[in-house]
Amino acid sequence: MQKIEIKNAKYIKDVDTDKNSSIEATFQGEKVFVPLDESNRHYAEILKQVEAKTLTIADAD
């Protein structure tokens, strides 16, 4: 099965609380912002690939 391509995953911090609030990443060539919600399909796929050690998420700037 064709793998879902995720690149350049990086946490984004909440500008108010300074805690990680979302992930910026390139999904199948499209830049997206993904909430940290397991019901979100993009976040579920990120977790799956992180668990498989095929993806790492960079710290926020």
């Binding site: 064709q2 997206v32 993009h42």
Partner: protein, 322 residues
């Protein structure tokens, strides 16, 4: 089963038929993202293309000679790897799948094949019990697989399959697959094409339930919506928040299934009393089913009080698909 067979007394249609079709965009009318796409994406609203490389495209409904508002979805296998598959799936969220628990389901759909079709075509009804996610990962149960290959032709025909057992009481999601398996190559005519998909409770298939485009669009927008700000249209979405940047909020047209993913294209400007400034791309935060937050920091331009403007074809995609 035709509706004529379930007429009540004096020719009145049995009043508790309700909304029979559990699928959304079963008539393939709504294409918010465009009319062509590839694997691992939603191209036709609510229908996910998965498997190996494939070309998904909108076609006129079979037998039509002009754009009459009815469409079909074509899935052309587009991968040279031997013995692979191309599929489409629709997964229903828990709130809708719940009504099927303890009941059998029937899936019916119009299907035809291309002139160079190779391999097999199957219809499936699938549930998943571990999470509200796609039916094709996690703890899934295939309730029926119907191989329609031997009856498939290059003309549209209606096919039906029914589960042999009831849906589990712990089902989180229910959905359907149309699978083109055991195929290879990139021949443009190695495809299947579908119309009028319907999933309903019970062991009988009924006539396809037609809905208005407005109803289908609204239902689809629970899972995905695209907001577009035309050229020459300046929309102010925020004020400057001293010490931080510019923060604003865009309200969803429909409440989303869950916290959505956001992407955008186009220009964001900061407008002060006397000047504009183009900026770097905005970031998106505070995604909720009701709306999403936009944030940007100017790199040049107005230094005093200013507002954040969406303009010149700015587009926001808000995605809460399963």
């Amino acid at each position: 089963m035709a509706l004529s067979k379930i007429q009540g007394i004096a020719g009145q249609v049995t009043p508790n038929l309700g909304r029979r079709n559990m699928l959304i965009n079963g008539d393939f009318q709504v294409w918010q993202r465009g009319t062509s796409g590839t694997v691992n994406s939603y191209t036709c609203d609510r229908w996910y293309g998965w498997g190996y490389q494939q070309a998904l495209s909108r076609q006129l409904a079979d037998g039509t000679t002009e754009n009459n508002g009815r469409f079909s979805l074509r899935v052309q296998h587009n991968d040279g790897t031997a013995n692979q598959f191309s599929s489409i799936a629709q997964t229903l969220e828990t709130s809708d799948a719940a009504k099927a628990r303890g009941k059998k389901l029937t899936f019916s759909i119009d299907v035809k094949k291309g002139s160079a079709f190779t391999g097999n075509l199957t219809l499936q009804i699938v549930t998943r019990t571990d999470a509200e996610g796609t039916i094709n990962t996690g703890t899934r149960q295939v309730l029926v697989t119907e191989d329609i290959t031997s009856s498939l032709t290059t003309s549209m025909q209606r096919f039906t399959c029914t589960t042999t057992s009831a849906v589990s009481q712990s089902a989180k999601v229910v959905g359907v697959n149309v699978n083109h398996t055991g195929t290879t190559g990139t021949n443009a005519n190695n495809y299947f094409q579908v119309e009028r998909a319907q999933l309903e409770i019970g062991e009988e298939d009924t006539d396809f339930e037609h809905r208005s485009y407005a109803e289908e669009l609204s239902a689809c927008q629970r899972y995905f919506e695209r907001q577009h700000y035309p050229a020459n249209d300046q929309v102010c979405v925020s004020m400057k928040w001293s010490g931080y940047g510019y923060m604003g909020h865009i309200t969803c047209m429909e409440v989303k299934r869950t916290e959505p993913t956001v992407s955008s294209t186009g220009i964001v400007k900061h407008m002060g009393q006397a000047s504009f400034s183009n900026t770097v791309s905005p970031t998106w935060q505070y995604m909720t089913p009701q709306g999403v937050g936009i944030y940007s920091t100017p790199t040049s331009g107005p230094t005093g009080d200013a507002v954040l403007i969406l303009s010149e074809g700015f587009t926001v995609n808000i995605d809460a698909e399963i």
